[in-house]
């Protein structure tokens, strides 16, 4: 009998990699540029101080939207770190987290290409693993790009005090875990729905609701109890910048959500009929 072993489809992985590379480059470019720009703004300490004073006087929800507790640090490090949870940066991450898995899984199912892929010597699990690898590695490397943007910005710009990179690295890693968790939720949506639009809609709704829960819980004391129900709650940049250790509790929660969503997506993907 001929060999019917199904080897890992590195060809599919490569093919999909080239298909998503442009999006990765686009998001990575903007995220790193934002970090460098923030550093260049932050090197003018007088203006930073004025800006922070101005932001402190803003209503709570505006303050929360541009950085929240980080502003209380009132330091150059805090000012640079604003971009680590700025809505624009988060939106860029979410674009990648949503577009990649929904495009690779639900999109290919909707377009009919998945039927061709699965008619070759590749299992459904392998297809899902390819999508997982590209999504999760893509998210984590984007976070590294963001951190590198900060490294470049801090080294290019001149500050009147020494800026430690270590807090930014920790913030980037935890941010990467949050991004990966978001990607896990998108993978789950992409594995569940055959319609790309529906998968994107579900994932985006989840993130927007989570974001606003975190925002409201941050400035309205009565809604504080809602905070832990949002995934964004577990990226406490102020705590990371002020503290010296890793926020292991927050990281464990994010890692748990990531694992659960990725495994649940895999089970659903494996059990559902394709392409119907």
């Amino acid at each position: 009998m001929k060999n019917s072993r199904v080897s890992f489809p590195f060809t599919l992985l490569r093919f999909w990699f080239w298909r998503i590379l442009w999006l990765w480059l686009l998001v990575g470019f903007f995220i790193s540029i934002i970090q460098i720009i923030q550093c260049s703004i932050a090197q003018d300490n007088e203006n930073v101080k004025m800006t922070l004073d101005f932001l402190q006087r803003m209503p709570g929800f505006i303050k929360e939207a541009v950085g929240g507790d980080i502003l209380d640090i009132s330091s150059t490090t805090g000012f640079i770190a604003i971009t680590y949870q700025h809505p624009l940066v988060l939106a860029l991450y979410m674009v990648f987290a949503v577009c990649v898995p929904t495009g690779l899984l639900a999109g290919h199912v909707q377009d009919g290409n998945m039927e061709l892929i699965l008619s070759r010597s590749v299992t459904k699990n392998q297809v899902y693993i390819c999508a997982c690898i590209l999504t999760l590695v893509g998210m984590l490397t984007l976070v590294i790009v963001m951190f590198l943007g900060t490294v470049v910005g801090i080294n290019v710009c001149s500050f009147d005090q020494e800026i430690s990179l270590w807090p930014f690295f920790r913030a980037a890693i935890v941010g990467g875990l949050l991004s990966a968790t978001a990607a896990g939720v998108s993978l789950l949506a992409a594995a569940t729905f055959r319609n790309r639009g529906r998968a994107v809609g579900i994932a985006m709704t989840f993130f927007i609701v989570n974001y606003f829960i975190d925002l409201i819980a941050g400035w309205w004391p009565r809604a504080k109890f809602l905070g832990p129900s949002s995934i964004f709650y577990y990226l406490d940049t102020k705590e990371i910048l002020v503290g010296t250790g890793w926020p292991t509790g927050d990281m464990a929660v994010l890692a748990s959500i990531l694992i659960v969503t990725v495994i649940a997506g895999g089970i659903i993907w494996n059990r559902r009929d394709l392409p119907l």
């Binding site: 019917s4 009919g112 070759r120 590749v122 699990n125």
Partner: protein, 305 residues
């Protein structure tokens, strides 16, 4: 040796039946026709065989191995052409075919692909999105044949193709079988099935209603008679209550066109009482037999999936 074995395959989509209790075998080197109108369950059967759908019950075996849904059972030995062939539209055809061949560990398909494209009159360097529907279907044909598979599963392979290219595709099927391949040909184009297939199954509403040689299916179909009565005599009405299985197709002048099922002697005995000048029998086609399975008298039309 049986290349494909289907045993009591059943697939329900919730409360809707896709196929029910479908069983058939295909021997090595055979071209097997799988007939049925749209929605009769042909594509559902094929997707169950390919492991794309999980059958509710029953099983399929391909080249000796039981199909496990989503596990690519023997896919490196199968050439598959889906009924609705879709391929990445923003890539050149040869690039997409290269990728698909490589996913199946069949990297050395370029020469065969070029041969197929030449025979089909297809320019593989063009972007798929720029190709006409017919040319995209040709890409699908190349995709199914390019790695010289042992089993070809073709769902409406000539859909959208002109008659000349359709003929080329049928020739490719015959040549593949000459080289030892086995073919499952799903179609509702009866002329192509009768042209290349030895046996066929007919599906109606998800159930197999016929499974035999093409010639036997044709035999079971209604036959037609054209009867010219002597000039000046009246063309009689058919006594339908006495002539079971006989129906009138039409009449014009002295001509009576009728169809009958089974033996001809009942009709001939009835005709013997009239002055008949000429009788012509028309050759029964697979189409006649097929239509009979779907005529109102045979059952309801349409299907479920």
């Amino acid at each position: 040796m049986k290349t494909l074995e289907i045993q009591s395959l059943t697939k329900w989509y919730g409360s809707v039946c896709g196929i029910e209790d479908v069983s058939f075998d295909i021997e090595q080197g055979e071209i097997f026709g799988y007939l049925g109108p749209n929605g009769s369950g042909k594509t559902t059967t094929i997707r169950c065989i390919m492991g794309l759908l999980k059958a509710t019950s029953g099983q399929a075996r391909i080249l000796g191995r039981q199909v496990r849904p989503g596990r690519a059972t023997q896919h490196n030995r199968i050439g598959y052409l889906p009924g609705d062939f879709q391929i990445w539209r923003n890539h050149r055809a040869h690039r997409s075919l290269d990728v698909l061949a490589a996913i199946g560990d069949k990297d050395h398909t370029r020469q065969r692909r070029e041969e197929l494209a030449e025979r089909l009159g297809l320019d593989l360097s063009r972007t798929v999105g720029d190709l006409s529907k017919g040319n995209r279907q040709k890409v699908g044909v190349v995709y199914a044949f390019q790695h010289e598979p042992e089993l070809l599963i073709l769902d409406e392979p000539t859909s959208g193709l002109d008659p000349l290219v359709s003929q080329t595709v049928l020739n490719l099927i015959r040549e593949a079988v000459d080289d030892g391949a086995t073919v499952l040909l799903s179609s509702h184009d009866l002329s192509e099935v009768s042209a290349v297939c030895g046996r066929a199954a007919i599906l109606r509403q998800g159930r197999l209603v016929e499974l035999s040689k093409i010639s036997e299916i044709v035999q079971k179909g209604q036959r037609q008679l054209k009867v010219w009565f002597v000039a000046g005599t009246e063309v009689p009405d058919l006594p339908l209550e006495k002539l079971e299985g006989v129906r009138e197709i039409g009449r014009k002048g002295q001509l009576l066109h009728l169809a009958y099922q089974g033996r001809a002697d009942t009709v001939l005995k009835w005709l013997a009482q009239f002055p008949v000048s000429r009788i012509a029998t028309l050759q029964t086609s697979l189409e006649d037999a097929f239509i009979q399975y779907y005529s109102d008298s045979a059952g309801r039309n349409g299907g479920t999936s």
